[in-house]
Amino acid sequence: MPSVNKIKLLQFTTMALMITIAMVLSYFERFIPLINVPGVKLGLANIVTLLALYLFDFKQVFIIVVLRVILVSIFAGSPISLLYSMSGGLVSLVGMKLLLMGATRLFSLVGISIIGAFLHNSAQTIVLGLLINSFSIARVYYPILIVAAVVTGFLTGLIGRQFMKQIEFTPLKGKRRYNF
């Protein structure tokens, strides 16, 4: 059994690694061609958020998401893309956390991932509407973004579930928090 300090250290380095992996994923996914609609992305960084929700407390996951969004915007974005991804990232994070706390009987990880992607894209649609001061435009994109959320949420959920199986026995997990 590792000591408390060792677990803290392990947590810390794992968090740093997760931020890095999430950054790399959200940077490189823009090179994967999808349909030509602004805002449609695979959302691979969401896998990291899912995994982090499984391994860490909410506070730590919050830090991982916020740092990832800020760092990606610094390296490959703008203040506007920061606003955009921060809103999506945080809304989906809170939504998925609430589902994990209260609705794991209803939804598996895949369902939670789909809802997370939906919340993410919904938040971004609202921010888009506010930024360009026109919801008549935002509503044109919204159906496409919803379909995209179902597809990408499903895919990232499946990938996340495979990851979960691989990390079944890590010293990080003191107790099994959620039963998928």
């Binding site: 703008s78 893309s81 939804f107 598996s108 369902g111 789909i114 930024l131 360009i132 001061n133 379909v147």
Partner: protein
């Protein structure tokens, strides 16, 4: 996988279909092209008049073309080039958005008042 996973996915898809249907039935050929920068309308042009509009703010340029009743962004020096890849538009409510430059090109109908009093930041 649990049963509700599929249910929620289907609900979302139905929502998308409903909204898509709504958008389809609520679209009409536009007549005005409204160009906005930072959420404020800077120029309004008729969709029936062919022309090329050049927007320049500092080192940010956007080249908008109106031709045969459709409007498109033919060039921009923004990072993501999403606006340039947006398909040409002609129906009300459709828009080309260049987020990096905060430029939007929106199609308006005949009855729409140009929003010259757009809220500034």
């Amino acid at each position: 996988m649990r049963k509700m996973d599929g249910v929620v996915a289907i609900i979302f898809l139905l929502m998308a279909a409903a909204l898509f249907g709504y958008n389809l039935t609520h679209r009409e050929a536009g007549s005005l092209v409204e160009i906005a920068k930072d959420g404020q309308v800077v120029q309004v042009e008729r969709l029936s008049v062919d022309q090329t509009i050049r927007l320049e703010y500092d080192d940010q340029t956007n080249l908008i073309e109106i031709e045969d009743g459709v409007v498109s962004m033919i060039d921009a020096n923004c990072r993501d080039q999403l606006c340039v890849h947006t398909a040409p538009l002609k129906t009300v409510g459709r828009a080309i958005v260049c987020l990096p430059h905060r430029v939007s090109v929106v199609i308006k109908g005949e009855g729409d008042q140009p929003e010259m009093d757009a809220i500034s930041e």
